[in-house]
């Protein structure tokens, strides 16, 4: 194991010292030295995730596809673009640059008021003494926050205008998870980072939570009819469970997408009464011609048109003027 760590940090340090460190040093950005090093790891983890998706997950999709190859295959291309931009750090870097000063300001303001965020270890001292239990508790809490954010994405009109891009994909695959509007990514990231700081997730843990969490989420979008078994699919979100959340609504099932929200741990849907385990296979997508029109568009056009959708949802007056030519 240690050999693996040495290889990993050797590559990380090598990339950092040849590509990133000279730039930071040259432009007097030494305050970004440690974050810069972490960013290299983020990109390396992204490469690993892409490899796992492209090799391991795609194996199952090829071997046991749920929806057979057909005319919609080309709709997957744009999702690959999303995955590359996110996993290789292009979108996350932009988001980091915007959110980091904001997060610092918020934390500074909070502490200046004399308010101390309640760290978990203070309430549960035993947590500080068990690294694995501590990690799992933070992971579950993180997922709890992500569950409620996801419910927000479906509950508010302006937020759904953004999130509907994620749902508009009719051809769901292991590449679909990263298909989100950048503003949606920004809001969710900001909320989750603040939440993590608030409860005290450690940087080292945050990286692992992201890595494991995002892999589970990529797999849950896979084009296969699989689950982790009766108990397993109640412990961990799998493709069968999550596909129902992406199901195309029908007159009989108007609100089918308001179920199975959980990103990683289905416990939240079970607890809050939003879980459905019926094993039925349904087509996916959004029953709205304007949203369905996302399909077939490229990354830039999707980002632009969904931004328009977002603005119109935010400002109803603007919407009327635009929609009545």
């Amino acid at each position: 194991m240690r050999d693996l760590i040495d290889i990993w940090v050797g590559v990380q340090a090598g990339l950092f010292e040849t590509l990133v460190s000279p730039v930071l040093y040259h432009f007097g950005l030494m305050a970004w030295y440690e974050p810069g090093y972490s960013a290299v790891e983020f990109v390396m983890l992204g490469v690993v995730q892409i490899a796992v998706i492209a090799i391991a997950m795609r194996f199952f999709e090829r071997r046991w596809p749920l929806e057979k190859a057909g005319k919609d295959d080309k709709l997957v291309t744009v999702d690959r673009v999303y995955t590359m931009l996110n996993k290789l750090g292009v979108v996350p870097l932009a988001i980091f640059i915007i959110t980091y000063p904001l997060v610092q300001e918020i934390e500074l303001a909070v502490r200046t008021w004399g308010y101390m965020p309640p760290r978990l270890e203070r309430m549960l001292p035993w947590l500080g003494d068990n690294a694995l239990a501590s990690f799992l508790v933070y992971f579950v809490l993180y997922d709890f926050a992500a569950y409620w954010l996801h419910r927000g994405q479906h509950a508010f009109g302006w937020w759904w205008a953004l999130h509907s891009l994620h749902h508009s994909q009719r051809r769901m695959t292991v590449w679909t998870d990263d298909r989100n509007h950048v503003i949606d990514d920004l809001i969710v990231t900001l909320a989750l980072v603040l939440f993590s700081q608030f409860v005290g997730v450690q940087p080292g843990e945050y990286v692992v939570i992201l890595m494991v969490g995002r892999l589970v989420e990529s797999w849950s979008h896979a084009n296969v009819d699989m689950s982790f078994g009766w108990l397993g699919e109640r412990l961990l979100v799998g493709p069968r469970f999550h596909r129902l959340h992406h199901a195309l609504s029908t007159p009989a099932e108007r609100h089918i997408q308001d179920h199975n929200f959980a990103p990683v741990f289905p416990i939240w849907d079970i607890l809050f009464g939003t879980a459905i385990y019926d094993g039925k296979i349904r087509p996916t997508g959004v029953d709205n011609a304007a949203v369905d029109a996302d399909n077939g568009r490229g990354w830039i056009v999707q980002q632009a048109t969904v931004f328009g959708r977002f603005v119109r949802a935010l400002m109803p007056r603007f919407r009327r003027r635009v929609s009545v030519p």
């Binding site: 030494m30 305050a31 003494d129 694995l132 005290g200």
Partner: protein, 335 residues
Amino acid sequence: MNRLSIAALAFSLVVSGTAKADSVIVLNSDEASYSILSRSTRTEVARLPVGREPHHLIVSPDGKEVIIGSTATNELLSLDINTGERKRVVKDILDPYHLGFSPDGKWLVTAAYRLDHVDIYHSDGFRLAGRIFIDGLPSHIAFDAESKTVFVTLQQSGRLAAFDLATQALKWNMPIGNAPAGVVMLPDDKRLLVALTGEDRIAVVDPKDGSVKSSLQTGKGAHNFFPKGDGRHYFLSNRVEGTVSLIDTKDDPKVVGSVRIPGGPDCMDITPDGKELWVTQRFLRRVAIVDIDTLKVVAGIPVGKSPHGVFMMKSTATVTSGLPVRAASTAGSPR
């Protein structure tokens, strides 16, 4: 954990408890733990949880405790300097990134790196005497010999600030150079050395008014000092270049030696016999051991993520202060 590894772990604890050599503590700043290393076997004996984002550690004025600043939990955690046993937790010390006691032991000063303030506490009872908000990432601190003044480097604004300890008033705040970090007062009490991490040199500063008297080229990313112990020579880590320089401070400071330490070398400590320099390699998750006579790296020990502060214990730590959750490398580490 299976039964075999529990047995192996227990065995390693017994072995470590009876080992002759002394222990070394390393703070793994990115994973909320500290490693206990054995000097004789040059291995990691145990990895124990500690607060969150621990960066630096210091000795208490009575010399009985090692005090660890846990930045994200706003706490100080102390260990018995002889046994390594956990002694106490001091709460409500905000973001104690870098910290130090004044030479007379009366004051504790902390630099809240991320929250942009310097806090001055009465050591007795850790009562806050003053909190000074100051722009630009306060990063490292040093005192004058009389315990009247504390000096703080401001990494972002490129300045060095001096505060009167008794009144907590700002004495001066002077531009020094790009990204100043480590700062030490030389034994003559007349010169401060300031490492400029954004440059390849250190500045020699007059503690009276903060004026830069001279500078000395060392290596890119000059970062932190550690005294060799002869009152004259200082080691300096150069993080960007990946070297440690040996500086002679008699008369005008000059570089008299250098050793390559890759992976962003940071904090240092010296073995009690004065023969070895131990350096944390932040990026490589290792500690490098340098033979001081020959200035050659003689060994390295794997530790946790982003190792920062390092400290030589007076004797061997008994690892009974908690279950070593991420256990010794000798006991089949799960990592």
